[in-house]
Each structure stands twice: as structure tokens, then as C-alpha cells.
């Protein structure tokens, strides 16, 4: 396996979706290639950082409207 193929298979590898033979070649390449080892590490860290995002939230107006909509619904 070449680096050029390796970089396209990272998500499939992380998802456990690689066929067994490809997974073996992926790991063999990983063990020998420090560039791809770094690439995989960077990919993992990118995913982890994306997972730390605190998303924007809806406006406080919208929030208030929804809270009172819920209150009204409860009264019915």
C-alpha cells in the first residue's frame, strides 16, 4: 500500500469497514511509514477536536417563545 492510498482509507479503517486483507496492508504500511502515522494521528485529533465544539445556540427570544409554548400546551 502507498501513502497516496493510505490517506483515502483512514475513515474506513477507523470505522472498521476495511476488508481484512486491506486492513492488514493498512497496518503494515502504518508500522513502516512515519508520515502516514502522523497523518492518522492528525485525523484522530481532528475528530476529537470537532467533538469538543460547543455549538451556537438559538436566540434567547426563540428560547422564551418555546418555553411559553410548552407552558401553554401543558395548560390545555
Amino acid at each position: 500500500m502507498d501513502c497516496v492510498d493510505f490517506v483515502e482509507l483512514v475513515t474506513e479503517f477507523l470505522e472498521g469497514a476495511l476488508p481484512e486483507a486491506d486492513e492488514r496492508r493498512f497496518i503494515e504500511h502504518l508500522a513502516e511509514c512515519s508520515g502516514c502515522e502522523n497523518y492518522l494521528d492528525q485525523f484522530r485529533r481532528t475528530i476529537a477536536t470537532t467533538g469538543e465544539l460547543t455549538p451556537d445556540n438559538i436566540s434567547s427570544d426563540a428560547r422564551q417563545q418555546l418555553l411559553s409554548a410548552f407552558k401553554d400546551w401543558k395548560r390545555q
Partner: protein, 224 residues
Amino acid sequence: MAGARELPPDEVLVRRLRDGDEETFALVLDTWSGGMLRLAMSFVSTKASAEEAVQDTWLAVIRGIGDFEGRSSLKTWVYRILVRTAKTRGSKESRTVPFASLQPEEEGPTVDAARFRPPGERYPGHWAVGQEPRPWPEDYVLRGEVRELIAEALDELPPRLRAVVTLRDVAGYGSEEVCSMLEISPGNQRVLLHRARAFLRRKLEHYLSGVHDVAVGGDERGLR
């Protein structure tokens, strides 16, 4: 993974919502609306419209909570309503996002071909000299800035890529749930996810190499 951390289990949530418990409603509203807003942005053209889609979704949730059957998690149920609502809005804004098949621009390499050795050279297809990815600093510098960078990069992504990576990596859904929410095949889901992640990684790499030059001032140690 942002989200469900502090919420009680679904049975409790659903019972309390049906009983009209305002605190519980405020809790789910505050916990989920941010992720919903970001997801809705994949289908509509403005933030205002995304916010309306989120509001309409919550109104539908209030009306429909009595009918929730618990076949999926409560959050998945809410997200499905959101995707339906946002898609409808989006198509009214003539912004239809075909999810079923891959677009031509979604094929091709995710790493610039110039970074690999061309055919004919020794070790073709391997990283070219000086083009290999280098380790990122352990502490990753200024994490707040890095998060902001990712948030901005997410907004630059084409809608389909943004939807998939938002659901998987921001909201923390599994691939099966995402395939069912967006009605795409597992293979297409992986392609979209990979392209989105590769884009975000490129942004980080670019940013971190810039910061590194400034911070270290050309000292090559630390680079390898």
C-alpha cells in the same frame, strides 16, 4: 461528544415531558438546540431560517410527544423531525440537497497530489520529501482558537459533508443512525465523512504550521 451527558434516561425524560415538566423541557431545549441549529444550517440558506426550523421542530415535538413510541432514542426522534422540517424549508428556498448519490465534486483525492512522489520517481505514491505530515504540538496550542477554526471550517463545507460530519463528530451519532436520518448508504456516508474530516484536518494542518513558524521562529527541532 457534546450533548446528552447530563440528561436522565429517555423513559424519565419522556414521562416528565408528557407531564408538562417545564424544567425538563428547558433542559432538553438547551442541551440539543445548538447541535440542531448547526445541522439545520446544512439544509437552509440563512441562520434565521435554520433557527425557524429548530423552533418548528420543537413545536412539533411538544405536539407530538404523546405519540413518541420509543422505537428510537428521543434525541434521534427529535433530529429526524428536524431533518424533515429543514429539508422542507430548504426546498422552498430552492436549496435542494440530493443526498442519495455522490456528486462529481465529491470524488477525487482528499490530499493534494503534489504531496506525493509522482510515477517514475523512486517510491512513487509515497510522501514527497518535505511533504510528509509532521507531528502536531502535543498541547495543540491555544485550544479555544483551534475549536473556533474548526467551527468556521464546518461552515465552509458543502452541505452534505457538513451534515454528515456534524451528526457523526459533533453530535456523536453512530453511522447507522446517520444513514437512516439522511437516507444514505453506509458507503456514501463514509465517503462524505472522510472528505469532511480530511478538509478539517487540512485546515488544522495549515493553521498549526503557520502558528509553528511564528512561535518557534524557524527552529527545526520540534518539527520531527
